[in-house]
């Protein structure tokens, strides 16, 4: 980490949400001149102040206000604490079906992402040469395609009489049913969008496993499967958890892909919230939906923070 005793990392994830990763400054040993004291103790805090302020003012404070607002209900001219908005949400079949639908899509998408990305990352970690280079570029390509362009491309590719159906009919396969405007299309779109980020995190994790470790194991007669199960898998659990939680957050709040490629009903929470707020003109209900979404996502966020923090602690202990 160089000379700075702490780090702030910004990652731009899909949906343009920015994820802050901050690790607190490591305590600096005593024996100080004022200048050292400034550089050692004060400067780091001054430098993390702007992002911290930004998060407090623009994220935590409004979120807290929202949560409080949804819990204070005006009934018969009397304001009081009540869960009635949440009870209404969970009693409404449509909103519950949308929440369940969102979970289903998220889990299905995550499972598919790992099925696709894990082998890809293993390949990119161990393969060398031109083809590996080309695959690397291809894998990163979705990073540079805006979501809305992707959606229209997928409509043309997967839709009825689209490219895929044409190719299939040339090789004699008929009876193609398009996934467009069905849940499957959302999964396809989101998986495609998430590939670069996931592969980047996983290959970075795999990169930390040194070649010598694997060679040692091989020398004592370990087969490929044993190496994978006993060495690679345990060492890659943490990058897997990071990729899981960050993808979960991005997908749970996805908007463009489910909006353009998915069915009119049921809807994912992102689309549903926008609809409730903008079209049904019910800001109160939209806020309740937002708080529920926020709470679910913050639990996964917690998992992420714990994973990263644990890593730091272990690293420091080993140093």
């Amino acid at each position: 980490m160089g000379s700075l005793p702490f780090s702030i990392i910004f990652i731009r994830h899909h949906n343009n949400s920015i994820i802050f990763m901050t690790t607190l400054p490591t305590p600096v040993a005593n024996g100080r001149s004022p200048r050292r004291w400034f550089r050692g103790s004060l400067l780091p805090y001054i430098m993390i102040a702007p992002p911290l302020l930004l998060m407090t003012l623009l994220i935590f404070l409004p979120a807290l206000q929202s949560i409080i607002r949804t819990l204070i209900v005006d009934a018969d001219g009397q304001t009081g604490f009540s869960f009635s908005r949440y009870i209404a949400f969970f009693n409404d079949k449509i909103s519950v079906s949308n929440l369940i639908f969102t979970f289903q899509i998220v889990l299905l998408t995550l499972a598919t992402i790992f099925l696709v990305c894990f082998p890809l990352s293993l390949y990119l970690r161990f393969a060398k040469g031109r083809i590996a280079g080309a695959v690397q570029i291809l894998v990163l390509f979705p990073l540079f395609v805006p979501g809305i362009i992707l959606c229209y491309a997928l409509i043309r590719f997967l839709g009825t009489r689209g490219t895929l159906e044409t190719i299939l009919s040339i090789v004699g396969i008929t009876g193609y049913r398009t996934p467009y405007l069905k849940p499957e299309a959302i999964v396809i779109g989101l998986v495609w969008e998430s590939i670069p980020f996931t592969v980047l995190v996983l290959t970075a994790g795999l990169g930390q496993i040194s070649d010598s470790l694997i060679e040692c194991a091989r020398d004592v007669g370990a087969g490929n499967w044993t190496i994978f199960r006993r060495i690679i898998l345990p060492l890659i659990i943490r990058p897997l958890l990071i990729a899981f939680s960050l993808n979960f957050l991005g997908i749970f709040g996805a908007y463009t892909v489910p909006y353009l490629l998915g069915p009119a009903a049921p809807q994912m929470m992102g689309v549903y919230m926008q609809q409730t707020f903008g079209q049904y003109r019910r800001p109160d209900d939209a806020e309740t939906q937002a708080v529920i979404t926020f709470l679910i996502c913050s639990m996964v966020g917690l998992l992420y923070v714990r994973t990263v923090a644990k890593q730091r602690i272990q690293q420091e202990e080993s140093e």
Binding site: P263, A264, Q279, Y280
Partner: protein
């Protein structure tokens, strides 16, 4: 001394020629638009050259404020500020404007009243445009049925909403409309169902506070639309916009859709739709539509020029060009246009253009559709 006289004479001459030139120089009309590219292109390439050829005394300066802040609204507020201080608003003509959008504009009479005296051609504008005194309706668009005549026989084309419902049931998977909040062409399909079950009288629906008795009748429209839900494209798939619907029609996935007249006509002119693509309008009560209104600020410094421009825009030649070049509908009666054009558009010509008020009605319409038509879950059960 002689030189001085020469100098004075030549100076005087110069002054005289300069003023003469200045008098001949065309007077500028400042026009502002925030409409789409197809509209601003048509102004630049067609309308303005034609106007300047007929009125060499004027020069039109078109400023495009599309996507710049609040677009034309910002310029109108600037004009309002100028009205209060007595300054030159530096705008003479708004290509589109909702003259009653801000109460202040109405109270301070920001927009000039248009009458047959100052714009003679306003007399030809049809009733359906429902214009306010300050408005100059000049181009319209209406939702229509687009169908592929290769697969839909001429005598099969629905002429009433009932026939349309029947056609959809008889041809499962061949019709599609978009979600009502994602594009006007799908909304027209839904609002037309609401008109159908409330006595086919769009005049019942006026902007402002919604009539609860009318909203109570919406479930009948949901029943009607649900009865064809399974017969839609892919057994009830509704795309998220006008363009995706047009695209499904263009690639032959479906054979009939609802579409905006201008989008369908433009796509046809560009050869994007199947060769057999044709347009039709329901004859018992047409689908909804709307008009674009121009307006002239009352403090314009070239009011004469602006009024001449307004009159020119409503002339038969320009109204014809609106149909042919931008796929719009005329604001004047079709009977004012050449007969050839009337025959070409005979299936879609109507002087009835119902409007949908939106507001509370709109929210009830969209939510009702999502909860009752798009989903198979009954929220009440």
């Amino acid at each position: 001394m002689r030189y001085l006289r020469l100098l004075l004479v030549s100076l005087a001459l110069l002054l005289v020629t300069a003023t003469a030139v200045a008098q001949d120089a065309p007077k500028e009309i400042f026009v502002y638009t925030d409409s789409d590219t197809n509209i601003s292109d048509w102004w630049t390439n067609t309308l303005i050259p034609a106007f300047e050829a007929e009125h060499p005394e004027y020069k039109v300066v078109l400023t495009i404020v599309r996507g710049v802040g609040g677009g034309n609204d910002d310029i109108a507020n600037r004009a309002l500020a100028a009205l209060e201080t007595g300054d030159d608003p530096q705008v003479d003509y708004f290509e589109t404007m909702n003259v009653d959008e801000a109460q202040e504009w109405v109270d301070k009479e920001l927009f000039l009243e248009i009458t047959e005296e100052n714009v003679p051609n306003i007399a030809n504008v049809i009733e359906a445009t429902n214009r306010l005194p300050g408005e100059i309706p000049y181009r319209g668009s209406q939702v229509l049925l687009a169908y592929n005549s290769e697969f839909v026989a001429e005598d099969e084309v629905p002429t009433t909403y009932e026939e349309l419902m029947q056609w959809i049931q008889d041809h499962p998977g061949q019709f599609v409309y978009n979600r009502p909040d994602k594009g006007g062409s799908g909304a027209a399909m839904v609002t037309r169902a609401i008109f159908e079950v409330t006595g086919k009288d769009p005049s019942l629906f006026v902007p402002g506070e919604a009539d609860a008795a009318l909203i109570d009748q919406f479930p009948k429209a949901w029943e009607l639309l649900s009865s064809v839900h399974e017969d839609m494209y892919e057994q009830g798939a509704y795309p998220a916009g006008n363009t995706p619907v047009l695209e499904l029609f263009a690639n032959g996935s479906v054979n009939m859709i609802t579409a905006w007249s201008d989008q369908a006509l433009q796509a046809m002119n560009k050869g994007l739709l199947p060769e057999g693509a044709k347009l039709a309008q329901l004859q018992d009560l047409p689908f909804t539509g709307g008009y674009s209104y121009s307006a002239i600020p009352s403090n314009s410094t070239n009011q004469e020029g602006a009024l001449a421009l307004a009159n020119f825009v409503l002339s038969p030649a320009i109204q014809e060009s609106i149909v042919n070049e931008i796929g719009g509908f005329p604001a004047v009666a079709w009977s004012e246009l050449p007969e050839e054009l009337q025959t070409q558009f005979t299936d879609v010509i109507t002087d009835t253009v119902p409007t949908w008020p939106g507001g509370d009605y709109g929210a009830a319409m969209v939510e009702g559709w999502y909860n009752n038509v798009a989903t198979n879950i009954d929220p009440a059960s």
